[in-house]
């Protein structure tokens, strides 16, 4: 696979050539690809990118700056995998190529990103420091001035919603007991950025699980699953974080001593954790451990929609039509849930369980919103362009609430809708279910007071 040598890599090593042969050039992927839909250029399509990779490997084409740009332009949304009749592993091929491009010095991740990958995301205290600094800047009102100086990248960052106060950024307890008759125990991923920006979502997910009859355990010393590293050309970093994640979750068991399901409320992390085995050669002992671990990983919606948990959830749901207060609701599929994990029905089924909730389908809901991990920060202009048709589709539904299941998408929608001045509330699935199972208190439909610049 990849090499650690500093010696210049041969072009063929830039590409997972064997995988590229699965593509028969039929072109069925073209229209699924957000970047191709945007530019109309086939070099920005999955078939085109594979064609370029193959040409590089066969030494017909030099891996020049344009090549690197087309590889970086990809959102890694993996929509193409959903429609590929030949079963091409596009995501894995792209991760391989990006990693090789970084290693061979052809692609240089920006300094700040590199620092974040190597240090901030790996250590909880660094993360906390960063968010505290950010919040201070926001409170002082200097946030916008600060980012205005960063040019076009800054303009986008200036739209980031307010970093929540420390109370919302508090850590999850190591154990949340089942709130009613106990049905089992689960482990939950707290994550790296999640608790800093969307701690309330984690807590909502834990509450719903608890109210549905599950003990929720959280490994206190775990930070990051490594998915952002894998997507952005740092497979070594991803491997290290995968090992620590597997090790952190292996001891967590249910009441019978069997490994507990690992519930993940962030689609990007879940997708990556389900594919850990790809990171390790088949003779590596970690390969087996990764496989066993991945089998335990369940998306929050996937876990809850399965019969045992669903039954518990149904008992916990309020009967006074809590869905009514939300108004019309629509669901936007996160790419890493629908394309990477194949989870499409469970979130919809869960929403449809909520008494009084009116759900409509969002046209082209499986198209990427342009968040794509840190893509929105690396290529802000492209990210904006990819987001635009999503707003148009949302307008068509007349929905008041947009439900998502991934923090990146949540952020993209939140900032995007504020920028486009749409009065639509973005809610993670966990929060909708939390409201619908809240034993007392009111269900509110108003948009939170925060919500951006």
């Amino acid at each position: 696979m990849s090499t650690r040598d500093d010696a210049p890599m041969t072009p063929s090593a830039l590409v997972d050539y064997a995988k590229s042969l699965d593509c028969i050039h039929c072109g069925l992927c073209l229209n699924s690809c957000p970047t191709y839909r945007l530019t109309g250029a086939e070099s920005s399509s999955p078939r085109g990118r594979i064609h370029l990779m193959r040409a590089v490997a066969e030494q017909e084409l030099a891996p020049d700056a344009a090549f690197v740009d087309e590889m970086d332009f990809c959102l890694l949304c993996r929509n193409c995998e959903s429609v590929c009749p030949s079963g091409v592993h596009f995501g894995a091929m792209m991760e391989h190529t990006r990693d090789a491009l970084v290693k061979s010095g052809r692609s240089k991740p920006r300094g700040l990103v590199r620092f974040a990958f190597d240090h901030v995301l790996r250590k909880r205290w660094m993360l906390r420091l960063a968010t505290r600094a950010g919040r201070t800047l926001q409170l002082m009102g200097t946030w916008r001035i600060f980012f205005t100086h960063l040019g076009k990248h800054g303009r986008l960052l200036a739209d980031v919603p307010d970093i929540p106060p420390a109370r919302e950024r508090r850590r999850m307890p190591a154990l949340t007991k089942a709130a009613c008759d106990r049905r089992g125990a689960v482990a939950m991923l707290e994550g790296c950025v999640m608790p800093e920006l969307y701690g309330r979502v984690n807590r909502a997910a834990a509450s719903v699980l608890s109210r549905s009859g599950f003990d929720v355990q959280v490994p206190r010393d775990h930070v990051c699953c490594g998915s952002l590293h894998a997507h952005n050309g740092d497979l070594d970093g991803a491997r290290a974080l995968a090992r620590s994640t597997i090790a952190a979750f292996e001891p967590l068991v249910d009441e019978h001593g069997a490994p507990a399901p690992v519930v993940v409320d962030s689609a990007g992390c879940g997708a990556h954790m389900k594919e850990y085995a790809h990171l390790f050669a088949s003779d590596d002992p970690w390969h087996g451990r990764a496989k066993a671990f991945s089998a335990r990983v369940k998306d929050f919606s996937e876990f809850l929609a399965a019969p045992l948990a669903r039954d518990g959830l149904v008992r916990a749901l309020r009967t006074d039509a809590p869905g009514q207060a939300l108004g019309r609701v629509t669901y936007d599929d996160p790419c890493h849930l629908c394309h990477a994990q194949g989870v499409r029905k469970p979130p919809r089924e869960l929403l449809d369980l909520v008494p009084g909730l009116e759900r409509v389908e969002l046209p082209y809901s499986e198209q990427c919103c342009g968040s794509a991990g840190i893509y929105s920060m690396l290529r802000p202009a492209d990210s904006l362009a990819i987001f635009a048709p999503k707003v148009a589709a949302l307008d068509e539904t007349g929905a008041r609430v947009l439900v998502t299941a991934n923090p990146g998408c949540h952020l993209q929608w939140d900032t995007g809708l504020a920028r486009e001045r749409r009065d639509v509330r973005v809610m993670p699935l966990a929060e909708v279910l939390e409201l619908a199972t809240r034993p007392d208190g009111r269900v509110t439909a108003s948009r939170p007071a925060s919500g951006g610049a």
Partner: protein
């Protein structure tokens, strides 16, 4: 390339509309027929008819050949670039311009993807009927160029029956507005002539298309057979009895295996030698009477199992398997050669037998998936284009199959077109006189021969026509 031309083109389409570097031109070297390739000099991606006309006008001035391209999903090399030529891509012309639900007509730009139109019209209870297997990616403009078919063309007819009008940019860059739908053409039927002209006449930039009401009831039947021939005979009988299903599709064992191993697993039984997919649509009464008449015929030819797709999801899954069949074959070998030939519907079984023999003789892996109702065969041969010997055997088998079809009263293409792929075979089917008439029609549209040159009609035929013209060929 003349830098003046490059600058001129950039001025028309803007920097994002002109692809000039190696990396961005490389993916255009072939369409879905990957063994024929040539890197284009430039790729130009206009946004609208006006830009398209300006591009064509400039190319005319510089005498540059032009190859139009939709999504590049064609299978006959129709979009393969030509020597010294540019590719004019319609992929950025993807606006649905108007939907008229009262008259059931839509106006679209040529780059709109086939299935996107049906998505856009669904809220009016309407759909666009021609459904090539690549419908989720192929463009409507490409469909017009190739006169594309699809499974449901058995009932609704190929693209040409659904085109009510066109805006065409001619080789010289003139805009010919034939977009207004008419019950009958005024003068000669230029629109009808244009459909299926494979990019040799001009560029259709806007299309006026007929829409159909989504049928109130649709039922899909899956009949499972222990022999491919029995399935073919059942189809022949269904047609002979005057039944009118909307689609009649046959899928053979190797294809079933590939589909079931792919993401599109449709629940086709893997112990079957062939499955026949039959769809019936219409009013409640129509579907009921057709289905009642169909079942005994399907069973009479030995269907050992008959399944019915009841709900929308199950139906979609049965069809997803059929539509993705050819991609699923990618699991068997790196490349796939999809042959397209049409034969009299009464001779299906004999031709399937002959095709199998031809491939067996050449040690090739053959899978069959075809529009049986229309007599449209699709023998699929898996191969690896890096193996030159195998590639030669594949092409040889393709030729042998086409010759056999012609002997049985068939023709070279039911929906993929001739392009580069079947150029020489045109002379097996047509006489020099037949081809000369086509050449003259081509010359009326494109006197300089710059539109997709070297495709569809063997070049020497046209040269002879020119020299035979009484006025010395320059008329």
């Amino acid at each position: 390339m003349d830098p003046k031309l490059i600058d001129g083109l950039r001025a028309i389409v803007g920097p994002a509309g002109l692809l000039a570097d190696d990396v961005r031109r490389k993916p255009y070297e072939s369409d879905a027929l990957a063994y024929l390739k040539r890197i284009p000099e430039l790729v130009v991606l206009p946004r609208d008819t006006r830009q398209c006309a300006a591009v064509m006008e400039l190319c005319a001035r510089h005498r540059v050949p032009v190859v139009a391209r939709g999504a590049g999903t064609g299978l006959s090399g129709g979009a393969t670039p030509v020597e010294g030529g540019i590719v004019l891509g319609l992929a950025r012309m993807r606006d649905v311009l108007a939907i008229d639900p009262e008259r059931r007509i839509a106006r679209v730009q040529a780059g709109v993807v086939n299935s996107d139109l049906s998505i856009a019209t669904a809220k009016h209870g309407l759909f666009y009927a021609p459904d090539p297997s690549s419908q989720k990616a192929c463009t409507l403009g490409g469909n017009v160029a190739e006169n594309s078919g699809g499974p449901h063309c058995f009932r609704h007819g190929s693209t040409t029956r659904h085109v009510e009008g066109l805006v065409i940019v001619t080789a010289r860059g003139d805009v010919l507005d034939l977009s207004r739908p008419r019950a009958d053409p005024l003068g000669l039927d230029l629109v009808g002539l244009f459909v299926g002209s494979e990019g040799l006449f001009g560029i259709a930039t806007e299309l006026t298309l007929r829409l159909l009401p989504i049928p109130p009831v649709t039922e899909t039947l899956l009949a499972i057979y222990t022999s491919l021939e029995a399935a073919c005979q059942a189809v022949t009988q269904v047609i002979a009895e005057g039944l009118e299903p909307s689609a009649l599709e046959i899928i053979d064992k190797l294809t079933i295996e590939a589909v079931e191993a792919s993401v599109l697993a449709a629940g086709y039984p893997q112990d079957a030698e062939a499955v026949l997919l039959v769809e019936v649509e219409g009013s409640e009464a129509e579907v009921a009477s057709q289905t009642r008449a169909l079942e005994p015929i399907l069973r009479a030819f030995g269907a050992f199992e008959l399944r019915r797709a009841r709900d929308e999801a199950e139906r979609a899954r049965l069809w997803a398997g059929r539509k993705g069949a050819f991609g699923a074959m990618g699991r068997i070998a790196p490349d796939l050669y999809v042959i397209d030939a049409v034969v009299p519907r009464t001779k299906l079984a004999a031709l399937v037998r002959a095709t199998t023999a031809i491939c067996r003789e050449r040690r090739l892996k053959l899978a069959n998936v075809f529009h049986a109702g229309d007599g449209n065969l699709h023998p699929n041969i898996s191969y690896d284009r890096r193996d030159q010997d195998e590639l030669a055997r594949v092409i040889d088998a393709g030729h042998a199959i086409l010759r056999t079809c012609i002997e049985h009263g068939g023709a070279l293409s039911g929906e993929h077109g001739i392009g580069l792929e079947k150029l020489e075979a045109m002379e097996w089917l047509f006489t020099q006189d037949d081809l000369a008439a086509m050449c003259r029609v081509k010359e009326a549209w494109d006197p300089e021969g710059r539109m997709n040159p070297g495709k569809l009609i063997p070049v020497h035929t046209c040269m002879e026509t020119r020299s035979a013209l009484p006025s010395g060929g320059r008329a």
